[in-house]
Amino acid sequence: MTSEFVFATAQYDSGDWDSAPLLPANIIDTIARYTEIPVAPTGVVVALSDDRMLRYPLLYLTGHLPVRFSDAERRNVKRFVERGGMLFVDDHNHDIDGVFHKTATEEIARTIAPLSELPNEHPLFSAFFKFDGPPATSHELNGWGDNLVHKHLLAVRRAAGNRIAVLFSNKDYSSEWNYHPESKRFLTVDNTRFAVNLVVYALTA
């Protein structure tokens, strides 16, 4: 077993959990670029129905299709959050009327607790880089999906310390960050910087 940070993508039965296959490598590259956090060079995919998902206290979950957890998935996700894990869910549709948003938020409310708006002053947005709120994605600015720039992320927070247990995004970071790390050099501003905040926050808060 290693003490490196391992980027873990959640696999679930009901939808297209693997819709952003390039994202893990890109985020791993970003963490290695900006921080001294020991990070595993490759990510892992872990089934929510498998107890081994508890080995990865930060889990990334995305998709376009309806989300419906099985009993085993629901039991493990509940246990994961109760023990201190953080679940990051990103709506790959970028559409608050879309099926992913509706079903995933409903499933989270059923399994853990209802989501609520995360204030833009939350420590997540200053954990490493300073942001005024969740950074907008090119997909939002181009008017895709629901044609909205979402001002807030949603979250389920713990009673102790106001910490995030589940983070839900309609920003479609799954599309924004789904490219080869080598392509970062063509960007004026690295659009994966918020991922550093996400990982640093998960590791320190």
């Binding site: 107890d51 508890l54 080995r55 206290p57 994961f80 102790a160 640093v200 590791l203 320190t204």
Partner: protein, 416 residues
């Protein structure tokens, strides 16, 4: 010359008589049950009467005090019997929940019932090394009863807790240690290193002194950044937990429990349930002479502690205890939280609560208190015939006459 010798002989007899009870002295006897009712009468008896207690258990504190007062006022008070040697002490534990630890000493095998001013707290059978009971709450006076022998200790005030500083690299281990301590109620100041010149801080940065900080938990060698302040803090009473490989930091060289061995790496199957230390730890290689082993495993010493100055240092070799919390069996997150809280409580600086006024009718160590007041047991055989004692005033007058005669004789002979 003869008169002087006679005066000294009388003086010696008086001294001897005060140390060795005479067979002819009148003796008043009382047992444990009767002593309290006999005290008023004993107070009025002449000083020459020997007061003898036959004790199955040690009397209450006020009775012992009364007897001590009689002894100080010239009465000869002695006691015999074999009351059980019991003792009790209580101490506030450095725990946000305000727990109290009660330590009981009694002969092995003794059953002791402990209660406070409200109700029974617990019952315990004493082993070879005594017994310890931890209770989250104690009201008023703590009292114990061991086969009729009563003893007590004042309930301590709750500990006033300072912050715990957790320092390390950004990692799951640091995150979950902070989470465990906060969930337990500890005020935590965390500082995690993320990148060159970038630390993530939680809580106000405070100077490292026992007025503000109770203990430092070093997750890894980043504790080096505290420099010499760390040793000053520990020597002045602060606590230090050196987790994982934190002992390798030069700043801990004079604090560590010993050299650090290579990390153990036991084989763990994917299906194994993870417990504390199941995934390996950093053992202490050569333990310091004053180190105490608290947890020894197949790979070596996993947990050990020592005192440094006024503070305490604990080596906790585990560097991924978070796996126990996340992937352990049912209830592992609670066990993990309790374990880390106990580790911190064991070293945390606990400011004194000031003198506690005991408001009890029984002593914390009744037999020791009795010996302190009346001296050790001095059994006197029953059946000895009491004889009227010689009036000591008469002896004094005789001594004066002898000495005056000596003086008069010398004056008449012209001697000085």
């Amino acid at each position: 010359m003869l008169c002087r010798l006679a005066a000294f002989a009388l003086l010696g007899w008086l001294l001897g008589g005060s140390l060795i009870p005479s067979a002819g002295v009148r003796i008043e006897r009382a047992s444990t049950d009767a002593i309290a009712s006999r005290l008023p009468a004993w107070t009025r008896v002449p000083a020459g009467v020997l007061l003898q207690l036959d004790l199955a258990t040690t009397p209450d504190l006020w009775v012992a005090d009364w007897l001590a007062a009689l002894a100080h006022s010239g009465h000869a008070v002695t006691w015999s019997g074999s009351p059980p040697a019991v003792a009790m002490s209580s101490e506030a534990i450095a725990d946000p929940r305000g727990s109290v630890r009660i330590d009981v000493a009694a002969p092995p095998g003794t059953a002791v019932v402990i209660h406070d001013s409200a109700s029974v707290v617990d019952s315990v059978r004493v082993s070879q090394l005594g017994a310890t009971v931890v209770t989250p709450l104690a009201m008023g006076t703590l009292a114990g009863n061991a086969g009729g022998q009563r003893f007590s200790a004042p309930s301590p005030d709750s500990a006033r807790l300072r912050a715990i500083v957790v320092i390390g690299n950004a990692s799951w281990e640091g995150k979950f240690v902070v989470a465990a301590l906060e969930e337990r109620g500890w005020p935590v100041i965390a500082r995690f290193h993320v990148a060159p010149n970038v630390d993530v801080a939680q809580g106000a940065d405070v100077p490292l002194d026992t007025g503000r900080v109770a203990a430092v938990v070093a997750i890894d060698t980043t504790v080096q950044s505290l420099g010499a302040a760390l040793e000053r803090f520990v020597r002045s009473g602060g606590g230090l937990v050196l987790a994982g490989a934190a002992s390798l930091a030069p700043a801990t060289a004079r604090l560590a429990l010993g050299s650090l061995g290579a990390r153990t790496r036991p084989s763990v199957l994917p299906t194994d349930t993870i417990g504390l230390g199941a995934t390996g730890f950093y053992p202490v290689g050569a333990l310091a002479a004053d180190g105490v082993v608290l947890d020894r495993r197949a790979g070596g010493i996993a947990v050990a502690a020592r005192r440094v100055g006024a503070g305490r240092v604990m080596h906790v070799g585990y560097d991924d205890s978070w796996r126990w919390r996340m992937t352990g069996g049912a209830g592992s997150e609670i066990a993990y939280r309790d374990w880390w809280s106990r580790v911190v409580a064991a070293v945390a600086y606990l400011p004194g609560a000031g003198p506690t006024v005991a408001n009890a009718s029984t002593a914390s160590a009744p037999l020791a208190g009795l010996i302190d007041r009346l001296g050790p047991a001095r059994p006197i055989a029953a059946g000895k015939t009491p004889r009227r004692p010689v009036d000591r005033r008469l002896l004094l007058a005789l001594m004066m006459i002898f000495l005056l005669s000596e003086w008069g004789s010398r004056r008449m002979r012209g001697l000085r």
